[in-house]
């Protein structure tokens, strides 16, 4: 069997942050209580000239510039997001042009709430493994929407992670992937609606927890792996509590979750959420480490992946513009500027 895996990766998180206290002040809420619920301290906010296309391009350029291969070999680009700048007109084509890889390739925009990024990864793995393409690019990016005053307003951030998927010079070899999918009305946004709606507590146990746990378990059963085999495990991060609770339920330790848990500083970047955590792990993991990644997208489904880090990872590390670089680059803004940047002021 030919091997398939990640050959490079890149992150992008916008520079602006808003603190939970700053939002709570506007609605006269208790920030301590809100922070206790989500364990998120601040969330990332795109600048007025940023959107999913710009963030996707920046993360993809980071993936390419740290890597020594030829981007002209790209046979597929998939951009998963629930906030594509155009409803009709793909983000993926803008990415292709901005990487100068037009034109003999396939491309598409994907949407599956917060797991469209991992859906693109699965598609690329399949295409590479079946030798239909030699190199694929999967991006998960979001400029997340949260209705003012909704609990989501405190947690939804923005960012992008990009993965080059191929069969040569693999830095994280794919051991297996497993998904669960059901029809689940936990979170939705109708055509033309500005903000998503959700089922509040219904988004928890039967939605996030059930799918994440079933998918993770399903993969481990299929591969015959156990929790102790993994040095790092990353789950979707709508807040910091949920992934930690899932880890506990599955029998993972705090240490196994920690490196991939980046939402405390930047919030939930929807399609980029779990994979930005994964990118942060890749920046630090050692050759030989096994990594479990499980995304969750409302509606609902989870994609799980098991990877082993190879020696080749040190060929693309260290890299200046890694996940930590963007986490460190931050400027806190006030609520007034936040509503302006988000385009809420019209």
């Amino acid at each position: 069997m030919n091997k398939v895996g990640i050959v490079s990766f890149g992150s992008y998180i916008p520079r602006y942050r808003i603190k939970i206290e700053e939002i709570a002040k506007v609605w006269d809420e208790d920030p301590i209580e809100i922070k206790a619920q989500s364990q998120i301290n601040s969330k990332s906010v795109p600048g007025p000239d940023e959107d999913v296309a710009t963030m996707a391009v920046e993360s993809a350029r980071n993936a390419i510039s740290r890597w020594k291969g030829k981007e002209k070999d790209l046979g597929a680009i998939y951009v998963g997001s629930e906030s594509h700048p155009y409803v009709v007109k793909p983000t993926a084509t803008i990415v292709a042009a901005a990487l100068d890889v037009e034109k003999s390739l396939t491309a598409a925009d994907l949407e599956f709430a917060c797991k469209a990024g991992t859906a693109g990864m699965q598609m690329c793995f399949g295409l590479v493994k079946s030798k239909m393409i030699s190199l694929g690019l999967a991006i998960g990016a979001d400029s997340s929407q949260g209705r003012p005053r909704d609990p989501l307003e405190y947690t939804v951030g923005a960012g992008s992670a990009a993965f080059l998927i191929g069969s040569e010079n693999i830095i994280a070899e794919l051991e297996g992937t497993y998904s669960v999918t059901t029809d689940m009305p936990d979170f939705w946004r109708r055509e033309g609606a500005v903000y998503p709606s959700h089922g509040v507590r219904f988004t928890g146990q039967p939605a996030y927890f059930k799918h994440t746990i079933d998918s993770s378990k399903g993969l481990m059963e299929e591969l015959g792996t156990k929790t102790s085999d993994y040095q790092h495990v990353i789950f979707h991060q709508p807040n910091a509590k949920f992934p930690q609770a899932v880890a506990r339920m599955l029998g993972f330790s705090k240490e196994q979750v920690e490196l991939g848990l980046i939402c405390k500083q930047m919030g939930n970047a929807y399609s980029a959420s779990s994979i930005l955590g994964f990118a942060n792990v890749l920046n630090h993991a050692n050759p030989g480490d096994q990594i479990l990644l499980t995304s969750y997208g409302s509606g609902a489904g989870s994609d799980s992946f098991s990877f082993t880090i190879t020696e080749a990872i040190d060929n693309i590390r260290p890299y200046k513009y890694d996940t930590q670089y963007y986490l460190n680059q931050c400027e806190y803004i006030e609520y007034g500027k936040y509503v302006r940047f988000k385009g809420i002021l019209r």
């Binding site: 000239d49 710009t54 042009a97 100068d100």
Partner: protein, 129 residues
């Protein structure tokens, strides 16, 4: 914002693709089919350096609707590492933080949005290193 124009200019705006003369080796921007130095038509695409220095800068507080979203913003003449000079915005930098001589790198941003239903123009800007 005219669709053919956005399409035609994407290599210049997205990639900062200029031209290098194969005869006199001079690099220039924007793209031209004839070398501006020696007139040769023997030119090939050349991608500008993606890092450089701020030579001159100022601020923009008033401009057209499609670009007002980002005002006030910094505008600069940048000398790229290959010696080519371009005009571009400095982003991720507070207005009082800009300096002549500051090192910057090219980033991909929204240049303008034609209302909420029209096209979006993307292109290069610069961020401090």
């Amino acid at each position: 914002m005219e669709p053919p124009k956005i399409w035609r200019e994407k290599r210049g705006k997205y990639l900062a693709m200029g031209v290098e003369c194969s005869d006199c080796m001079i690099k220039q921007f924007p793209f031209t089919e004839k070398c501006s130095a020696c007139g040769s038509e023997n030119v090939k695409e050349y991608k500008l350096a993606t890092t450089g220095k701020v030579l001159h800068f100022s601020t923009v507080t008033q401009t057209t609707d499609e670009m007002m979203g980002s005002t006030p913003y910094l505008i600069a003449i940048i000398e790229l590492d290959d010696g080519i000079k371009v005009t571009g915005q400095i982003v991720d930098c507070n207005l009082n933080e800009a300096k002549e001589g500051m090192d910057v790198r090219m980033v991909f941003r929204v240049l303008a949005r034609n209302g909420s239903e029209g096209l979006i123009r993307y292109g290069y800007k610069f961020a401090p290193i």
